[in-house]
Symmetry: C2
Amino acid sequence: MTQVSPLAPPHFPELPEVPGARLVVVRAGYKDWGRADLTLAELAPGTCVAGVLTRSRCPSPEVDWCRSSLSGGKARALVVNAGNSNAFTGGKGRAAVSAIVEAACAALGCAEQEVFVASTGVIGVPLPVDRARAGLADAFARLAAGERAGWQDAAAAISTTDTFPKGSSRQLAIGGRTINLVGIIKGSGMIAPDMATMLGFIFTDAAVDARFLQSALEEANARTFRCITVDGDTSTSDTVLVFATGAAGNAPLDEASADAASFKAALADLCRELAQLVVRDGEGAQKFITVAVAGAEDDRAARVIALSIANSPLVKTAIAGEDANWGRIVMAVGKAGEAADRDQLAIRFGSTLVATEGHAVEGYDEGPVAAHLKGREIEIGVDLGIGPGRATVWTCDLTHGYISINADYRS
Amino acid sequence: MTQVSPLAPPHFPELPEVPGARLVVVRAGYKDWGRADLTLAELAPGTCVAGVLTRSRCPSPEVDWCRSSLSGGKARALVVNAGNSNAFTGGKGRAAVSAIVEAACAALGCAEQEVFVASTGVIGVPLPVDRARAGLADAFARLAAGERAGWQDAAAAISTTDTFPKGSSRQLAIGGRTINLVGIIKGSGMIAPDMATMLGFIFTDAAVDARFLQSALEEANARTFRCITVDGDTSTSDTVLVFATGAAGNAPLDEASADAASFKAALADLCRELAQLVVRDGEGAQKFITVAVAGAEDDRAARVIALSIANSPLVKTAIAGEDANWGRIVMAVGKAGEAADRDQLAIRFGSTLVATEGHAVEGYDEGPVAAHLKGREIEIGVDLGIGPGRATVWTCDLTHGYISINADYRS
């Protein structure tokens, strides 16, 4: 990993074990790097799974595989390859996924539909099947020998251009039992909604009905992973999967459970933190930006406007330059195409109102705004003043670092 | 002007006079710079006008004024202010436009609807009315004294961050008479379709029916100004106006004229060159990129996909890095949301096919592609392979120069 993002948390958190999920990492050698790049999670029989996947019309064969397998709702294994996304590799790419699925099925004696695969890295180069097979054999042998990877090791092994490993957890009590939710995630560039470009994996020992798990994840996704953007670019490989092993022994959760709402809230809260960690590792990011839009026609319009601001290169470079150029926010509101009344619009940086009713506030003092913009955590508030719609999205600034990383990615 | 874009033409072209249009430039002092920043064009009685304006929901009062005045179809004056866009300035901004219109009407004895105003520059600061009035009085005095500005002077006076003045012309014979079309344009950043962020003014001595002129401009706009993008950001001030003075004395052109098609073609051709000149002055641009999409479901889908590629920061930084990272083109096709079949997709750089039927071509040799990418003029070709839809758009690469210019615009 290169220089750690200045927006990274001070250290990787302490994360609890999730009974029913056993992880191991190995070096398959997908790239010429001296680190683990294949992660295997073996999941207890009966584990339920839910997932959300990229909306790209050119998805990787892994995404196709996961999408069709999710209908079964059950999982016994997750295999994550880093360094090669296997996307846009035609029949060879599909064959690589099949080979991984077959090898895992043979080792675990499970159905093909119970094996989930995700890959991340360069597009257009078929995943080398021999390395995947050898790596997976090594991983199962280590698991059998009692080796276990910690969450930090797994978070590092699924990374590519990330500058720090990302993970978090939540605990809650359900029916007198303590339930753990642990998530790890990777993502740094090619981050955009529909959904955020990333691989994310959440493990819980709760027993959860698969359909309920899917709807809880989709609800959380709409307010978290779909609300972050680094560069507006959507990956071919976006995948977030949640595995519920049931090892906690609670009565399976469903929509009717007394604890349904608190489980959903904990899952959404974890997703929000994971999503924000990805933005904090945005390529070249120096500032974490929260864009809060209120007063729009409805929540959908508010989200479109918030993303128009968050994806604007002119807004993002102004923040990078610590420049209170709120005219660019007016521009981004205007281009969003949603209902807006120029003469009702209010804009703030941090807690300072800079414009209201279509013009700069009387006696506007740029001092407190300039001070706010010098910090690492920037807030942009927009009130359209025409309706009840609200949305919050998160992004980072656009800096020379982004250009340097992406103009020279493959060399 | 700072360092001239490496993509600029070698020199400003020789442009003919357009009888019926008299231009003058003066220094109103909208910014503290030692150059002319107010341009006045006086147009002969009977001049017809057509225009296309920004689709921003937060347009400047100038845009509002032009939109409502275009319904009259007649023009006697154009006033262009540079250095201050007067956008998002509330009642003060509207008052500034009114003051300019009143002053021009008084000088020319024309109707308010016959005066067109455009302003470009920083957003959120009301245009100083006293400077506008004084500048305009100076301009009319100079005109009366016989002073005339050349096209290059006018192109320079309407500029802001542009690094070179932009103009071009076309001539055609209509009914035995030679007709001139001359256009000047400014634009460099905040360039996106709907429509390209710029001010452009075209003058012709042809006599043209106002409704025909409007439909000819809209047709041209769809294939030219709406097909360029620098950063995907849409200005609050986009304005392109065409003035037809009628001084050539031809029988007025309309849809039924024998020469209608050739006039439309000449206008569209001029618009295309002006639009491309803006891209060639894209902020920080080092390479001019043509994105040609074929085989899409229909032309609309092709344009959406072409713009998704042209607006992708990852594609644009790869080109800046002279990196044949065609996987990012797959990504941009996938995120566009239009119909695509990963396994039918073909991609070329210049004349070299790099991927076909969903995977890299056998024995792909990056040599000729690397050589193409070292040039200034880059071509990206995408064939979706599923339909007859075609579109071509133009953009530039995303470089450190863009960041430097925009992180420090106001200081």
